[in-house]
């Protein structure tokens, strides 16, 4: 009964999304007050229906209803409860439902916030969100319905992919998707403005918190995926430039550009059409990411079961949404005029270069991601593009960006006189260089050419970011939360730079063949292998090894890596054991029984690797603090004034 109820709820949600889209877009167009008034109820109804569908599917999973095909394929009666819930988004159909659910949550949030917006504009924004929701609901119902029944029902499920049976699965996809879907809000705000043919600084102020929130969630989601890959996949890597990682990284890069461009629109009323274009672009890349994952056109671990009809549908949807938005842009963008100019040395220039470099970075990632597809289509041979391509090209745009950040942060709006800041620039740079090189050569006494460069840039960013807040505090000026948030986010970026540099330069990794009782030395630590013994879990068995880690005779840790064999799918997984100590992570993974009483053991020491994930959290924290700034809460007043003034010019 429940699956049918869920299916029915999903169909109702589709109809309500259609109404929401129609009323939201047509209402303001034809000035029908009643239509506009119907938008919010449609939003609420759609959210309730989607939540009902989600609840039904969760109930089917928890209640082990193996007559539902999706449950039978992704769950098992022996599966622990938490994974039975998380299995919901363990495969294609359910993760689409999660996508739709999160879009409904964002839409409700916009609807609640809409009382601060002009009525017609809010209706348009919700209408555009309705179009997106409609497309995804249609996609789900037409090609990937999670509620289909099996006849006869399966006796038991085929189990969740063992590699997904991990707490990481519970958190990573929802957070990542929240970020992905959040860019739909920015997209809808941009389309709303273009439909209205009007965009002012108020628009930027309304949109900014949404962009920042989506960006923060996406960053956290990417970091969670990276962390999960690090400890779960057994080889200790944290970033592989896998097509799907790239697909999530591109919207993040463009979103970062958008955050900076929209700041200029907010403060100075400039870069208007560019901001709109970036809003469209960020969401387009989210959609492209969905297309790449779902259609199976690219070789990736994330390739879900490939089904050509799905790929064709998403591609059509992609073309309709992006094509529609870009046509709208071509039609409306010429209406937007920037009222003022700026000096070459002004903050606007630096933010412009920031945007150019970030977009170039996103473009290189896109080129690398799509190259295998293009090469295959043109019969140029099957190629794969890996870190050898991505690392240098990505760095090419990132290094100037980091240097520009340290310089540009001192620049004032509109007028550029870096001359007055020359001394600050010089002092911070010298301090950073001394500190950075000192750290690198003091601690490690060796390194690549880029190691001191990375450390110096990172420290320079921290010092430069702190100049303005410290100056404000010293002069007794107020410190708005927006500035605090920005400073924290930039420090987060610097943390990531320093951590990445250190990890890339000083990782120590060895595969060893060890007999019980023997030891090996890696990176100043001693590893004694104490043999293996059998283990058994709720739905697997296997072997667990013991590795005792010491340093100069002092005990550091006892690590117990495992090799598990899951019963239902007969799949072997490696459970790494990791010791986290002041950022110096020691990872041990158990390999194979080599015969002659020996086992292969992988040992890996990655310094500061935890700080990469911490950096994402710091950046997200910065975003959260910036969102809480008062200026975004006072917009109600700011909105009412121009409306009361009727056709008064929108902001000087």
């Amino acid at each position: 009964m429940l699956p049918e109820l869920g299916h029915f709820a999903l169909i109702l949600a589709l109809l309500l999304a259609a109404l929401q889209a129609f009323f939201g877009i047509a209402g303001p167009m034809f000035r029908r007050e009643r239509w506009v008034a119907a938008v919010t109820p449609a939003v609420a109804g759609q959210a309730v229906m989607v939540a009902t569908a989600m609840g039904c599917l969760i109930a089917s999973f928890v209640g082990d209803d193996f007559s539902v095909a999706y449950v039978a394929e992704n769950s098992n009666s022996a599966l622990p409860l938490i994974y039975r819930v998380a299995a919901l988004w363990g495969a294609h159909e359910g993760s689409l439902l999660l996508w739709i659910m999160l879009l409904a949550v964002w839409t409700v949030a916009v609807a609640v916030y809409a009382n601060r917006l002009p009525r017609l504009f809010a209706a348009r924004v919700l209408g555009v969100l309705g179009v997106i929701s409609f497309g995804f609901l249609l996609f789900t119902l037409a090609t990937s319905n999670p509620f289909l029944r099996l006849d006869p029902p399966a006796l038991d499920g085929r189990d969740l992919n063992p590699i997904l049976q991990d707490p990481g699965l519970a958190g990573h996809p929802p957070v990542l998707y929240t970020g992905y879907v959040g860019f739909a809000v920015a997209f809808a705000f941009a389309c709303g403005a273009m439909l209205e043919g009007r965009m002012d600084q108020n628009w930027a102020r309304w949109t900014r918190p949404w962009v920042t929130a989506a960006w923060a969630f996406l960053g956290c989601g990417i970091a969670m995926g990276s962390f999960w890959a690090y400890y779960e996949l057994g080889w200790g890597g944290f970033w592989f430039w896998d097509p799907v990682e790239c697909a999530s990284f591109m919207p993040w890069l463009v979103g970062t550009a958008l955050i900076h461009s929209i700041a200029v629109t907010d403060k100075r009323g400039l870069f208007k059409s560019w901001t709109l274009l970036l809003s469209v672009l960020a969401f387009s890349l989210s959609l492209l990411g969905t297309f790449l994952v779902r259609s199976g056109v690219l070789v990736s671990v994330h390739s879900f079961a490939a089904d050509p009809s799905r790929g064709v549908f998403i591609l059509s949807f992609l073309i309709v949404m992006i094509g529609g938005a870009l046509s709208l842009y071509a039609w409306r963008a010429p209406l937007l005029k920037s009222p003022a100019g700026f000096d070459l040395g002004a903050r606007e220039s630096f933010l412009l270069f920031n945007n150019v470099l970030l977009v170039i970075a996103a473009a290189t990632v896109l080129a690398g991601t799509l190259a295998p597809l293009i090469s295959g289509a043109l019969k140029l041979g099957t190629v794969s593009v890996g870190p050898q391509f991505f690392n240098p090209t990505f760095m090419l745009s990132m290094l100037p960006l980091l240097a520009l950040l340290s310089v540009g942060i001192h620049a004032g709006w509109k007028r550029g006189r870096l001359g007055t800041q020359l001394r600050t620039l010089l002092y911070t740079f010298i301090a950073a260089a001394v500190f950075g090189c000192g750290l690198v050569y003091g601690i490690y006494s060796h390194g690549h050419l880029l190691t001191p460069v990375g450390a110096t840039l990172g420290i320079w960013i921290i010092l430069s970011s702190l100049v303005d807040p410290v100056d404000r505090l010293r002069r007794g000026l107020s410190l708005p939360r927006a500035v605090v948030g920005m400073t924290i986010a930039h420090i987060g970026l610097a943390t990531a730079v320093i951590a990445l540099t250190t990890v890339q330069s000083f990782t120590n990794e060895k595969d060893l063949s060890l007999a019980p009782g023997t030891s090996a030395a890696v990176g100043g630590y001693q590893f004694r292998f104490d043999g293996v013994r059998p283990i058994e879990g709720p739905n697997y068995d296997g072997v667990g090894g013991t590795v005792v880690v010491t340093r100069n005779g002092a005990p550091i840790a006892v690590l117990k890596p495992q090799k598990r064999q899951y019963w239902v799918q007969h799949q072997v997984t490696t459970e790494t054991a990791i010791h986290y100590s002041r950022g110096n992570n020691i990872l041990v993974a158990l390999g194979d029984d080599l015969g002659a009483n020996r086992w292969s053991v992988r040992i890996q020491i990655r310094p500061l690797v935890s700080f990469i994930w911490l950096a994402a959290v710091i950046m997200a924290l910065g975003g959260a603090i910036a969102i809480s700034d008062r200026r975004y809460r006072l917009t109600k007043v700011a909105v009412e004034i121009p409306r009361a003034a009727g056709t008064a010019p929108e902001h000087a």
Binding site: A91, S95, D242, V244, H302, Q388
Partner: protein, 167 residues
């Protein structure tokens, strides 16, 4: 400078920057893209000597050899037309097994493919499309060996990198 000339300088600067980045990116592309070859292509000598590439195919059943206690492992990768012997030193991925698809990165050394990286996909039923296509091209129709991706019922995780070994 007048505003117009300033803007011109700015635009020119951006165009130059983009052009330089594009040129550098393209050359990085030429140097750093890895090609994929199947055993037939390797046997036919299509691989430029000494160059690193990806080799894909099936691990021949019964070909896995290992001296007891040694990390060094040898196996044969086949596309059912030609075979290429492979040697690798290190921990093999969880999903590596005889009779399953594999993709390895490395270079040819005296008739043996010396792998520095062995890749396996998360899903044991998942066949890398390049491998599936190569096997199909070579007329292999023994049922059960070539599972088209469409028949893959299991999902991989929604984000996170490829399982691999080596670095």
């Amino acid at each position: 400078m007048t505003p117009r000339r300033r803007r011109l300088a700015l635009v020119l600067g951006i165009v130059a920057g983009v052009a330089i980045a594009g040129a550098l990116g393209l050359s990085a592309f030429r140097q750093n893209v890895t090609f994929f070859f199947d055993p037939s292509a390797v046997t036919a000598g299509k691989v430029p000597p000494g160059e690193g590439f990806r080799l894909g195919g099936m691990v021949t059943k019964g070909s896995l050899r290992r001296d007891p206690g040694s990390l060094e492992v040898r196996f044969v990768v086949t596309d059912f037309q030609h075979d290429v012997p492979v040697s690798y030193s290190g921990v093999l991925p969880d999903l590596f097994r005889e009779g399953a698809g594999v993709v390895a990165h490395g270079r040819m050394q005296g008739g043996t493919f010396v792998a520095d990286e062995v890749l396996a996909k998360h899903d044991e039923k998942y066949m890398p499309p390049a491998v599936a296509e190569s096997l199909k091209r070579h007329g292999e129709s023994r049922e059960g060996l070539v599972t088209p991706p469409a028949a893959t019922p299991q999902a991989a995780p929604p984000a996170g990198p490829t399982a691999n070994t080596g670095s």
